[in-house]
């Protein structure tokens, strides 16, 4: 009988104990808001060094008093201190019909930038997108056309391109180091209806032989399904040949009407 540490019951018990420990620690550390709790629970001392230190000295009065705890981290890592004004455009653009904006970032230019620059650019673009979305909502509320809505689409395209460049870099590194192109593991499996498909793995806390819901899944085809598979293949082939014949007939008709036409290669 294997040791009973990894049974489901004990797993649940251990999870409850860990949760209680975390909550007591959180009481000591500053709890600004729920989503930052993970940041503050990091064990090793995060030295609030580099630019953050000097800023902390000047702007510490803006935050709630941090009492002599070595592990804290200031929120701002940028220079701009406009606060909620970043949700709005510059005051000189208020009430304008059109606002001038340049071209979006192209993937070619984004590929020449370092990872740090891309990281910073992402947040700059995100803040701009938030500003444009508030502008869009406000113009809907006031029943007024939004000035230059193409800016929003340009920013969205730039964000998509940035993401593709970051993904490209990740896949090249993964290919180099492991030989796999896709990050998520999977396998070719057969399902109940007889189809072979790429089953993408999921992450679980317990091994497969302990997962009762996973054990109930059927990755095989029962014997009585096989005649139906053959019928399905026949139907698919019939459809395929019908389509090719239709294409041939239409091409022949067109050739008779336009004798000088060039037959398309596809």
């Amino acid at each position: 009988m294997p040791n009973n540490v990894y049974t489901l019951k004990n797993y649940r018990r251990r999870r409850r104990r860990r949760k209680m420990a975390a909550s007591s620690m959180a009481g000591r550390v500053l709890t600004l808001c729920k989503q930052f709790q993970n940041v503050f629970r990091i064990s090793s001392g995060i030295n609030a060094k580099n630019a953050a230190v000097n800023l902390a000295k000047h702007y510490s009065h803006l935050y709630s008093p941090i009492s002599s705890v070595s592990q804290y981290r200031t929120l701002h890592t940028t220079i701009s201190r406009r606060g909620l004004d970043e949700f709005f455009d510059f005051p000189e653009n208020w009430g304008e019909e059109t606002v001038k904006s340049g071209a979006p970032w192209s993937a070619k230019h984004l590929r020449t930038k370092s990872n740090e620059d891309l990281h910073k650019l992402w947040y700059v673009l995100l803040k701009e997108k938030n500003m444009l979305l508030t502008l869009e909502q406000e113009s809907k509320r006031q029943r007024v056309p939004m000035p230059s809505p193409e800016r929003l689409r340009k920013v969205e395209r730039s964000l998509i391109r940035l993401e593709t460049v970051a993904k490209e870099r990740e896949t090249t590194l993964r290919l180099l180091q492991t030989g796999q192109e896709k990050g998520r593991p999977g396998a070719w499996r057969r399902n109940v209806l007889g189809y072979i498909y790429w089953y993408r793995f999921k992450e679980y806390a317990i091994p497969w032989y302990m997962n009762t819901r996973y054990m109930r899944k059927r990755f095989y085809t029962p014997k009585f399904v096989e005649p139906h598979i053959r019928l399905r293949i026949e139907k698919y082939l019939r459809d395929k040949y019908r389509k090719t014949n239709l294409k041939k007939r239409t091409l022949a008709k067109l050739k008779e009407r336009f004798p000088h036409m060039k037959v398309p290669s596809s």
């Binding site: 064990s43 340049g102 180091q177 679980y204 060039k262």
Partner: protein, 216 residues
């Protein structure tokens, strides 16, 4: 839930297979009036021309070879690939009234009719006569249009952008990145992922070990 007028105009238009394309785009009100869903018209046969063989572009000067305005040269304003049509500026016109109301007869204007691609030919820049054109590759590797008769290259027409921007006369706004900053190369290839590099720069140290998880 009822769709608003704006949403109705913005949604993607699904067009049946035997749709007869006209000069109006399928999502406009005029097209919906002429081709309501369920309307079936006699089929028009369109000569299939592959996208890479299409020689006439918007802004080109072409000459008409057949029809009312035979022998005249004009600039291409609009191209319809689904019907192999070309609309030239001020040529092949018919006259009609627009803006007719109950008491006002309307303005009498000349409107251009589309011409088939077969009845139109590109003009050779050297002798200003219509020629047949082929796509060929130059020594540098660019794809250009070459006239079959003389071998002269026909340059691509300069078309003004729809938003009216001229790239040579553009001045950057406060939120635009300057050209020098855009072109500046800061990337140094390394064996670190984006996350690792950013964590290093920000001074984040992650000493937690990931708990054992199972993938299946």
């Amino acid at each position: 839930m009822r769709r608003t007028k704006g949403e109705e105009l913005n949604e993607k238009v699904v067009v049946p297979k035997d749709y007869r394309y006209g000069t109006n785009r399928p999502w406009t009100i005029a097209a919906k009036r002429l081709n309501p869903p369920g309307k079936r018209r006699r089929k028009v046969f369109v000569e299939p021309i592959a996208p890479e063989d299409w020689t006439v572009l918007r802004g080109d000067t072409v000459e008409i070879l057949a029809g009312k305005d035979k022998g005249k040269q004009g600039k291409v304003v609009q191209v319809f690939r689904h019907r192999n049509w070309v609309i030239l500026q001020g040529l092949n016109t018919h006259y009609r009234y627009i803006g007719k109301t109950h008491d006002y007869p309307g303005t009498y204007i000349a409107s251009e009719a589309p011409i088939l691609l077969r009845d139109v030919a590109l003009i050779d820049p050297s002798d200003r006569k219509p020629t047949e054109v082929e796509w060929k590759f130059t020594e540098e590797g660019d794809k250009v249009r070459v006239s079959v008769r003389t071998g002269c290259i026909i340059p691509k027409p300069v078309v003004e952008r729809r938003d009216g921007i001229v790239p040579e006369q553009w001045k950057d706004g406060p939120k635009d990145t300057s050209p020098e900053d855009t072109v500046e190369k800061t990337f140094t290839p390394s064996l670190k992922t984006l996350e690792e590099e950013v964590m290093e720069k920000l001074g984040i140290q992650e000493n937690r070990r990931q708990r054992k998880s199972y993938w299946y």
